[in-house]
């Protein structure tokens, strides 16, 4: 009996192993020139099986023992081939979107927590282990993770997720980046991100770009489930579109509203819903507020009629409270990431919660 085992992508080792085992057990050499056993998952494979069946009537000529063995071998190959895609996301927001797209076909681990300052995540050694096992790495890019991801990637020694590997996905690609410095940048301006503001997931429309990038990566790395990811992407986009229409309607009366934030974390959110940033509590990115800056900010914000001060859960409260009190604005502690508080469990929750809080706070 002449056989050929067709291999798919990275399954080559399993196939070699199966072929070797079959050769040993059946004590007959398998040629590579005639196709016989194949997983049948791809159209090409199904054709091969049909062709083989037509040519030599495999089922009729195989012994039950051979059939059992082949079935076992194929089942083994199928389980390993269908092992879940191991996805690591730098932020819980990317992780939440990956879960929407990947469903039960992926296992998602997020590195940063929703409550913490995403610029200063500790490169805990356990993440080396996590990245070592990853099939896909979803990172925001725009230097958001520059302080902690590079040493983890260096230590993880995983070729699948190195820069420019198919498993390394930079989610800010394809997004219209805000606050890209147009002139020269240096550190006297604070820790300005030279490629622009990295907090891009806070525009729900960008959520769709992120989801599309994730779906494309999953389909590329797990072609048998490409249709599944495509369908999930469609469902997610539909849900998000419906929600976006609702959020836009709720925020419509607030268009043009002036706000003060701590860090420029909310820029994408403000841009989407037509709110205006009147100033930040930190004088420059990453620089702590000084009394001079606060004393200048308060009268300016008062003059501009700022009604809202937005602060992420990780920031100190004392100065924002003082600023909000002095200008007669409402202070809101709003999560900027999934998991930022107990009520924000997925990407849509994040905007439901934040927009609900804003609308509630400004009710006449």
């Amino acid at each position: 009996m002449k056989t050929k085992l067709i291999r798919h992508g990275s399954d080559i080792r399993h196939w070699k192993f199966i072929r070797h085992s079959l050769e040993r057990v059946l004590k007959m050499p398998f040629g590579w020139n005639r196709p016989l056993a194949c997983c049948g998952r791809l159209p090409a494979c199904r054709n091969v099986r049909r062709q083989v069946a037509a040519e030599n009537g495999l089922a009729a000529r195989s012994t039950p023992f051979q059939n059992t063995l082949l079935a076992f071998a194929l089942a083994f190959a199928a389980t390993t081939a269908h092992a879940k895609l191991n996805v690591v996301a730098t932020l819980p927001d990317f992780g939440a979107i990956a879960e929407e797209i990947g469903g039960d076909k992926v296992k998602v681990t997020s590195i940063a927590r929703g409550t913490e300052d995403a610029h200063f995540v500790d490169a805990r050694p356990s993440f080396i282990r996590v990245l070592n096992q990853a099939d896909v790495l979803l990172e925001g890019g725009l230097d958001l993770e520059i302080g902690w991801l590079p040493p983890l990637l260096n230590a993880a020694r995983n070729a699948k997720i190195l820069h420019d590997a198919p498993g390394h996905v930079i989610l800010s690609r394809g997004i219209t980046v805000l606050e890209v410095p147009s002139g020269p940048v240096d550190r006297s301006m604070g820790d300005v991100h030279p490629s622009g503001n990295p907090h891009c997931w806070l525009d729900p429309a960008n959520g769709k770009v992120i989801a599309a990038s994730a779906a494309a990566a999953f389909a590329r790395l797990d072609p048998p489930n490409a249709a599944f990811y495509e369908a999930n992407l469609k469902t997610f986009n539909q849900r998000l579109d419906a929600k976006l229409a609702e959020w836009t309607k709720r925020m419509e009366p607030l268009r043009g509203l002036k706000v003060v934030t701590y860090h420029k974390s909310f820029s994408y959110f403000l841009e989407r819903f037509g709110l205006e940033l009147a100033g930040t509590i930190e004088p420059k990115p990453g620089i702590e507020p000084s009394p001079t800056h606060i004393n200048a900010l308060i009268p300016r914000a008062k003059e501009e009629g700022v009604k809202l001060v937005l602060v992420e859960p990780c920031r100190p409260r004392k100065t924002p409270e003082y600023v909000a009190g002095s200008i007669g604005a409402k202070l809101l502690i709003l999560p900027t990431s999934v998991g930022g508080n107990a009520k924000v469990k997925d990407y849509i929750d994040l905007f439901d919660y934040d927009i609900g809080q804003i609308v509630e706070a400004l009710k006449p």
Binding site: A123, S126, A212, A245
Partner: protein, 466 residues
């Protein structure tokens, strides 16, 4: 028609033609200008975020060719800064770090008080370390790093040293990683950290005494294996040259001075036994979402310059709590401890200085065992502010035979130090640190020192490992 009139007519015609051409040209120019304006407008429209529920442009190949739509593709001009950080052409990341101290001490000889090569050397100012780091991807297989340091010694002389220069594999199979070149030995925790990332002004006493003033580093190769345990753990094996002043407890010439009572000669490598072997195992556990523990055990084995060999053992522990709602990494509490043991098998040494056939000095081989440990606690209480306390203790197992002849050796005598400090980071790129040291040396008495350290960093901020 007279000739003159004919000429005038031709001239008129030519003038007319020229006028027409000029008008044509101006019309074309206006048209083109209009088209350019329209195109510009279109581009601007295109770059604006889509209003309302936008349809996301699905990136065709997110990890490959697609570029961020707004990464302004502006042609480079000579007056632009060279993009070393965050640019698209990142062949080499360059950084420069300057570390200095100013202060004073009650000790007569400050060099005897401090054990580290980068420690404050004198009353007044000390240039502790000027470090230039070059780092980048070599090719698809390796990344490379070079740390070149300059120091200015007590006499005001500048000197340059190659602290590290190595290449490291990026993704070998079987979870292996290889590093080769000149590099800090993977022994204990702090030995691999460069002085600007230390939490105190000076080096712990035990590190200076056992690993040397400049830390244990040498030319060699290291292989590490990320073990397949459910928690993080890694096994390292380093083989390096065992000679030179950066292999302090091994084949170190010690600038011609006796080392533990005997002359120390670097000799030469005859076989594999003459190399330095350093195994290390490190594991880490997440105790809670906010607490991390890293524990390691190391050994270093090699010949020494007195004809015997040296064994170094070390255990290290690092625990850190960081608030789940930290703001720029604060608040946090971190505790770090290392304990080391050195077994120095000193060779026999006899000296007949006057050549009368009778040895004035006759030392048999002996085993000199020393211990040392330090423990430090840091509390980052608000953004940029850290309070620290470190305790240091080094002591011998018992007096060596040579010490009963030559008197107690300050390199073995027991001593301890207590160092509280306060650090302020105005940003991640600068630092001010005030430290007080209380030193108790059993041979010399008590000393008090106060040091103010300051640092600046230019260029790419290399992310530190945990």
């Amino acid at each position: 028609m007279p000739l003159q009139a004919q000429e005038t007519n031709q001239l008129e015609q030519l003038k007319k033609q020229l006028q027409e051409m000029q008008q044509n040209f101006e019309r074309t120019q206006r048209e083109q200008q209009r088209q350019i304006e329209a195109l510009k407008k279109q581009i601007e429209e295109f770059q604006k975020p889509p209003p309302g529920p936008a349809t996301a442009p699905p990136p065709s190949a997110p990890s490959g060719t697609a570029a961020a739509s707004s990464a302004a593709a502006k042609p480079w001009s000579p007056s632009d800064p060279i993009p070393l950080l965050g640019g698209q052409r990142s062949y080499l990341n360059l950084s420069f770090d300057g570390l200095f101290t100013a202060g004073t001490s009650t000790a007569k000889e400050i060099e005897g008080l401090t054990t580290g090569g980068h420690d404050p050397k004198q009353r007044g100012f000390t240039v502790q370390n000027l470090e230039t780091t070059l780092e980048g991807k070599v090719d698809p297989y390796f990344r490379g790093l070079a740390a070149l340091i300059m120091q200015i010694d007590r006499e005001g002389e500048s000197f340059l040293e190659v602290e590290e220069a190595y290449l490291e594999s990026m993704a070998l199979p079987a979870n292996l990683q290889v590093r080769a070149g000149q590099f800090f030995t993977e022994f204990g925790r702090q030995n691999q950290f460069h002085p600007h990332s230390w939490d105190f002004v000076d080096q712990p006493l035990v590190m200076g005494r056992f690993l040397g003033g400049d830390g244990l580093r040498s030319a060699g190769a290291r292989v590490s294996w990320l073990t397949p345990t459910p928690f993080y753990s890694e096994l390292y094996l380093t083989i390096q040259n065992s000679h030179g002043e950066t292999a302090h407890s091994f084949r170190n010439e010690n600038e011609g001075e006796p080392f533990l009572g005997r002359p120390s000669e670097p000799g030469s490598v005859r076989n594999l036994d003459d190399m330095l072997f350093v195994p290390r195992y490190v594991a880490s556990f997440n105790l809670t979402d906010s607490q991390t523990l890293v524990a390691g055990a190391s050994g270093a084995f090699g010949p020494n310059g007195t004809g015997g060999n040296t064994e170094l053992f070390g255990v290290d522990l690092f625990w850190k709590w960081k608030s789940p709602r930290h703001h720029a990494g604060f608040p946090f509490v971190a505790w770090q401890t290392e304990a080391m043991l050195r077994r120095f098998k000193a060779g026999a040494f006899a000296e007949d200085a006057d050549g009368d056939g009778v040895n004035e000095l006759d030392l048999s081989g002996e085993r000199l065992t020393d211990y040392g440990l330090y423990s430090q606690m840091l509390y980052g209480f608000r953004k940029g502010w850290i309070a620290g306390l470190r305790g240091d203790y080094v002591f011998p197992d018992r007096k060596g035979e040579y010490e009963s002849i030559a008197g107690p050796d300050p390199d073995r005598a027991s001593r301890w130090r207590l160092s509280p400090n306060l650090t302020w980071y105005p940003s991640e790129f600068s630092k001010l640190r005030l430290q007080y040291n209380y030193d108790r040396r059993n041979t010399m008495g008590d000393d008090h020192s106060v040091w103010l350290q300051f640092e600046f960093l230019l260029g790419a901020h290399a992310a530190h490992k945990f």
